[in-house]
């Protein structure tokens, strides 16, 4: 069944010139270190921690999010941290295009590929790498340093391989995110 149209209030969302729609009630820390690809929706009460950056001078991109992404309500996107060669640091996080992140999820992955669908209430551990075309089921807990290969469905706590995705899933997710942005996300 198709998703119902998601109605939002014009006053609630800030629209940037690249077409991103960011809710005023979301918490974006360190916005100068966050890059949004365009046509991305960040819903209310989301938290994106762009302030946890690598120590060091210069401009650093901490969180890079691609196009047509969707960050559901109350989700938390923060970069992962570890001690490497005696030095503690937060590392940049890259989220590619067409990524759907469900409500209440906590994402601390190092890298999320394109066409990924992350369900509600998920916890993606530190330095996890999620390749293209994956699906993380609702309530899954992906442990730290996990690698989720393409075309897999992971679920459970701790997350295990549950199913494989069909080959056409890229078109399915692409159409889903484009359709959402163009048609379903409408002004009240």
């Amino acid at each position: 069944m198709e998703d119902p149209p998601c109605v939002y209030d014009r006053s609630e969302y800030i629209e940037t010139d690249t077409g991103n729609k960011v809710s005023r009630y979301s918490v974006i820390c360190g916005s100068q270190n966050i890059v949004l690809g365009g046509k991305t929706v960040i819903q209310r009460d989301c938290m994106v921690r762009g302030d946890l950056r690598r120590t060091g001078a210069g401009h650093a991109v901490v969180v890079a999010i691609g196009r047509y992404c969707f960050l559901g309500e109350r989700c938390v996107v923060r970069p992962p941290c570890k001690t490497y060669k005696g030095q503690f640091n937060y590392y940049p996080m890259k989220i590619a295009d067409h990524v759907f992140i469900g409500e209440d999820s906590v994402i601390e992955a190092a890298q999320i590929g394109s066409y990924v669908h992350i369900g509600k209430n998920c916890i993606i551990g530190r330095f996890a790498i999620i390749k293209d075309c994956c699906r993380i089921l609702d309530g899954a807990v992906v442990p730290p340093n996990a690698v989720i290969p393409s075309f897999s469905v992971y679920g459970g706590n701790p997350a295990r391989l549950v199913d494989e995705l069909p080959e056409s899933i890229q078109e399915v997710y692409e159409q889903h995110s484009k359709e959402f942005f163009e048609e379903k996300f409408v002004l009240a």
């Binding site: 918490v27 820390c29 302030d51 938390v76 551990g125 706590n157």
Partner: protein, 164 residues
């Protein structure tokens, strides 16, 4: 950590009630530490890290004691009685009721407990498997010390700090 370093508390966090905060703690934005009943209080030790969306609620009587060098990860809820030192409450975990968490424990992501956890216990998975861990706490202690250092340095640059 030296005992005289002040705690770093972000302005966005909610701290209400009679709470005694030790030194060198880090409280992230959107965190909330509240005491429900006026007579009771929370005592927090040194060097704890409270990440965002953490809820520490003390709704009972008496004192809730939080030890040293614990880390409360994103979105966890702590409503228990006490927690020792060096423990980790992972993302989305819940500590309810009259739970007492020991030292060097790990309560895994999205796990819930309302009973006591003895020292050095690890709880993980949907089935809440318990096992005893031996040496990994050393890894974590080192990481924790440096984490604290980092947060104390970086957080004030991006957030308003509370002075009390």
């Amino acid at each position: 950590m030296a005992a005289t370093l002040p705690s770093v508390i972000c302005d966005d966090s909610i701290i209400e009630g009679d709470i005694i905060v030790g030194s060198a703690n880090v409280v992230s934005p959107k965190c909330s530490i509240t005491v429900a009943k006026p007579g009771s209080r929370i005592v927090i030790g040194d060097g704890n890290v409270f990440e965002e969306n953490v809820k520490i609620v003390h709704s009972g009587d008496g004192e809730m004691k939080i030890g040293d060098n614990n880390i409360f990860q994103v979105g966890c809820v702590f409503e228990g009685l006490s927690i020792g030192s060096g423990s980790t409450i992972e993302a989305g975990a819940n500590v309810l009721g009259t739970a007492r968490i020991g030292s060097n424990c790990v309560l895994g992501a999205k796990c819930t407990t309302s009973t006591a956890l003895p020292d050095n216990t690890v709880v993980f998975g949907t089935a809440h498997i318990r096992r005893v861990q031996t040496r990994s706490n050393r890894l974590q202690a080192n990481l924790h010390a440096r984490h604290l250092e980092y947060l104390r340095e970086v957080l004030p640059k991006y957030h308003h700090m509370r002075s009390d």
